[in-house]
Symmetry: C2
Amino acid sequence: MLKYELDRTFAALADPTRRALVERLVQGPATVSELARPLPMSLPAAMLHLKVLEDSGLVTSQKVGRVRTCRIDPKMLSQAEHWVGERRQMWERSLDRLGAFLDQSEAQS
Amino acid sequence: MLKYELDRTFAALADPTRRALVERLVQGPATVSELARPLPMSLPAAMLHLKVLEDSGLVTSQKVGRVRTCRIDPKMLSQAEHWVGERRQMWERSLDRLGAFLDQSEAQS
DNA sequence: TTCATACTTAAGCATGTGCTTAAGTATTAG
DNA sequence: CTAATACTTAAGCACATGCTTAAGTATGAA
């Protein structure tokens, strides 16, 4: 797991427009136009967001004829979830150790 | 769960310096100097990163005397994990539905 | 061949981010 | 009181981000 991959993945998820695109794409594939239509911005702007998502690895796309179809690639979604989940667990374990230490100190006093 | 909270949380996690700070803080609280010392940058720069983490809600701090102690607040960590995990699940369910649909189509042919 | 569709690229601009050094404030040790 | 410590704020600069409009390319329909 390369660190700069997480940079791009979290950065991609930091934008509400891009989270909306992910939200749409987890339901199934969609074309660029379909994805851009509901967004309150120009088509080129929407495509920049899609490019960020593709560069992050969250989304893949392929062009057939003149239509580009986008879909979720779950790998980076899993990696991001994993990174955050692991840190939350580490935090919990530190708390547990602190609790055990305090219990022990109390027992000795 | 307000959306702009996720904006700030994911943006905070998108930077390797800030992830390193989180990595340190999940082991337990630390002062500003302790956190800044290993970083390859000036103290003011490190403090800007800490400010981003605090504004995102990932970290809290309190000053006693002239020393500010920082610690993880796990709430936003959980929320970020939850958002990503839920979307990954939604994607899996879409795949399942597609599989079921294809099985059914095949059975009818 | 002509036209509409579906993207794609380019240019430009406003704002935000990440860092620097320098100077300042507040607290505590001597 | 004096000085060191631990942060804090300010000013400034380079570069990235998020958008715009305009123009361009490639494909498919008529």
